[in-house]
Amino acid sequence: MPHAVELQHIRKFFPSTGVLASDDVSLSIEPGEVHALVGENGAGKTTLMNILYGLLAPDTGQILIHGQAAHITHPNDAIRLGIGMVHQHFKLVPSFSIAQNIMLGIEPNRAGFVNGRTEAEAVRKLAAGFGLPVDPHARTGSVSVGMQQRVEILKALQRDARILILDEPTAVLTPQEVRELYTVVRNLAAAGRAVVLITHKLIEVKDVADRVSVMRRGRMIGTHPVAEVSIRAMANMMVGREVLLQVAKGEAAPGEVVLRAENLLVAGAGGVPAVFGVSFTVRAGEILGLAGVSGNGQTELVEALAGLRPVDAGTITLFGKDITASIVRDRREAGMAHIPEDRLVMGLNLQTTLDENVVATHYQKPPFSARGIFQFKPMRRLAQQIIDAFSIRAARVGEPIRMLSGGNLQKIVLGRELEGRPKFVIANQPTRGLDVGSIEFVHKTLIAQRDSGVAVLLVSVELEEIFALSDRIAVMFEGRIMGLLDARDATETEIGLLMAGSSLEREAV
């Protein structure tokens, strides 16, 4: 039986960045298997799959589909050859119904007139056939993220995808939705289709994949049956050295209350309330983890705390001082630091240099400014300090940061925010999109901050991260805190239920 996909000696060089993203990579995928493709950021996983899907042209190498040489220059070629791809960011029309989205571009029609009823019927049949029930008439924008992903998968299946590529499919799902997705993926494989799972979550690989291919810095390190490799071995292959998956953490020694939020009411985009009467405290020397599926008001809450979004009602106090209406600069003066969710847009200015980025929060004070004139020496010294303290090898003082990897960029943000001894740190998705090595580093740093008496508010959609770091866990759902648990005796199931909106019998802490 021929391989479903065979990539032979694929090479891809990006002249604009000078990166060899794929260096003589060969990979074969069998029909009926779930094949995980893992690697750090920038290892070349997505590049490789984009080549397979016709979004990028390889410099050299060839692609065989079901044993036949294929020339894929456009996604349409890929679709014709039975390749389907579900992107990390869904490509759906929110105002269309689910049926319309699935049939988009291949609508059953008579002389150009689309028949909505046949369309819906075809979708219903398709969905039932794969055991993926959907409501064909529901408006796509109003269904849950998990359902939207299902629509994407159905869309690929409707085009008869024999080879399905899923790019980071679980990043946006609740634990329950992740379980459902696993079942779907296993069923598809059982039906003889090949599924490629791009991910950097190794637990997922263990749970669902048959074989795993590890990439590192543009090269294929190896392909192994999942049953034969441990998570630790995979992590080491990915990074090329020993990594700690679980950072050691001692008991917390919580001190005085640093931040107190009371009955916060915050409006989201368009004036719709996004946070409804949220109250909590963060003490010195503890990490409060705020769990929840993304889009349940965490962003708005963090922005309100950081002074980027007005508070409609309620109060925020820092060390007993009311800062509800303070401007960002005053909050920072009072000891607040903020590691933002989006480091590329909010955390850093990629158009400028390392030096100018590290002084962004205190450029106006001596020694960086003397009577309004910029002082370069202290600025360079600080940049060098951060490079040394956080071992950002690739960064150079005075040079642009545009080319640095996600992990290094996050280290710059950490360096800047933790400089000047903050007393309250908001860490919003601090490891999103980072690889195992960088995650380990960020986790160690946050725990070191906690141990030195800093109050940390950790916001994350990754349950592993919440469990690894938090001393107490708050769960947000639709703008409310559903429960506040002690991390020592909270279980993943409990948190998962709270994340999905059910309340628990017991209310701890």
Binding site: G18, R217, G407
Partner: protein, 428 residues
């Protein structure tokens, strides 16, 4: 250091390539006008940048000068000033271009795509034209001085104070006009592009009203203000300190070019060496980032708009005080400010680059004016300039194409390292 040199070379090579491509493509139009492209271009460049007697491209550098005793001598052309040099005319034009391009650059660097230079320049010019006679009049009236017999001491002081006051007034007028757009943007998030376009029209109409009614000085066919007093006049070099240097003959080039160069230097210092400039560049890089870091972005934008308007106003003042000496109807419709926007964009908002581009652009304009004397349509100049600009703006496209060729010729490097560091806990 080598890298620096390479970068400079790279940034100069591209405009050169764009110019050559522009000339090649416009040859088609020259040919349809039944002319020889080489001759036409030699004429264009000689009229734009050459000395008198310039005939060929080579003459731009070296020229044979007839000697008094017969025979000729070869001299370095840019220094050969017999009957005036075209470069003096180029610098006269470039003065305004530099100032308006600086004005555009400072606004762009704050993330404001303001193209209000035209309106600000017109109002600045109007203010300078009015103050240029109104201030001396007031001084004469207050001091009971006879304008025909001013005591020399007072005259000297007036020669310094009056132009300064006129310039200050012009800068204030321009700054105010620009501030309106900035204020509307910061407070009400009104699109600055649309806002400045409308403000330009309003400014031109205001100037048209003033020139035709309250400030009209005589019954000349063309409405115009009274000529500014001599004490307000920024005397051109060829009438003042360099009147014996033939190089300056025919050009109303004056102290304005020095003011423009000082403004360029000052603006560079402001943008790259002061915290206020830093605020403004950060606000542009990412508005979210600025807010996140606590940088007062709105204040930075307003400051940039004030500086931008003041520079355009200054450009208007210099055009009136140094070149035209009165505001004539039609000045406002000239679109002087838009060329500055173009120069700023072509120079990619670099201040040294803008100085070069302004001079080059001024030279092309200068050269195309005289194309008709070589039996060529005057519009040809505009076509050539437009093609050069078109190719200059295609830089990204060309770089990508060259990048492809380059990557085939050159073996690839290893990808930049993923973190291999022994991650230790930070000591901070």
């Amino acid at each position: 250091m080598l890298k620096r040199t390479q970068q400079t070379f790279g940034s100069l090579a591209f405009p050169l390539l764009a110019t050559i491509l522009g000339l090649i493509v416009s040859s088609l139009f020259v040919l349809t006008a039944r002319a020889d492209p080489l001759t036409a271009y030699q004429h264009l460049f000689c009229e734009g940048f050459g000395s008198s007697g310039c005939q060929t491209f080579g003459n731009l550098l070296l020229i044979d000068v007839p000697q008094a005793g017969g025979g000729t001598q070869t001299v370095f052309a840019p220094f050969y000033g017999e009957k005036g040099h075209k470069l003096a005319l180029v610098l006269e034009r470039a003065t305004i271009l530099i100032l308006t391009a600086l004005s555009a650059t400072v606004a762009f660097k704050a993330g404001m795509f303001s193209i209000g230079m035209d309106g600000q320049l017109v109002l600045g010019a109007m203010a300078a034209a009015f103050l240029g006679y109104a201030i001396p009049d007031q001084i004469y009236a207050l001091g009971k001085i006879d304008p025909k017999a001013i005591p020399p001491a007072i005259e000297t002081v007036m020669h310094i104070v009056v132009p300064l006051l006129c310039i200050a007034g012009a800068m204030a007028a321009g700054a105010f006009w620009s501030w309106i757009a900035g204020f509307l943007k910061v407070r009400l998030n009104v699109n600055e592009l649309i806002c400045t376009i409308i403000l330009n029209t309003i400014a031109v109409q205001i100037a048209g009203y003033l020139i035709n009614f309250p400030l009209r000085s005589d019954v000349n066919n063309l409405a115009r203000t009274r000529r500014i007093e001599d004490t307000a006049w920024l005397v051109p070099f060829n009438r003042g300190i360099f009147q014996n240097v033939e190089w300056f003959t025919g050009a109303r080039l004056g102290i304005g070019i020095l003011i423009a160069l000082i403004a360029a230097l000052a603006l560079w210092f402001f943008l790259y060496r002061t915290t206020a400039g830093y605020e403004q560049r950060m606000a542009r890089g990412s508005r979210l980032f600025a807010r996140f870091g606590g940088i007062p972005g709105g204040r930075a934008v307003l400051r940039a708009m004030l500086i931008s308007g003041a520079l355009s106003g200054l450009a208007g003042a210099i055009q009136i005080l140094g070149v035209e000496r009165r505001f004539v109807d039609g000045f406002a419709a000239g679109g002087l400010g838009f060329d500055g926007v173009l120069v700023a964009i072509l120079a990619k908002e670099s201040i040294p680059g803008l100085l070069l581009v302004a001079c080059f652009y001024a030279g092309l304009q200068q050269g195309s004016l005289n194309l008709q004397f070589a039996n060529l349509p005057r519009q040809l100049g505009g076509i050539i300039i437009a093609f050069i600009i078109l190719f200059s703006s295609m830089e990204t496209f060309f770089r990508a194409q060259f990048g492809k060729v380059w990557s085939r010729l050159r073996p690839p490097r290893r990808p930049p390292a993923a973190p291999l560091s022994e991650n230790r806990t930070p000591a901070l």
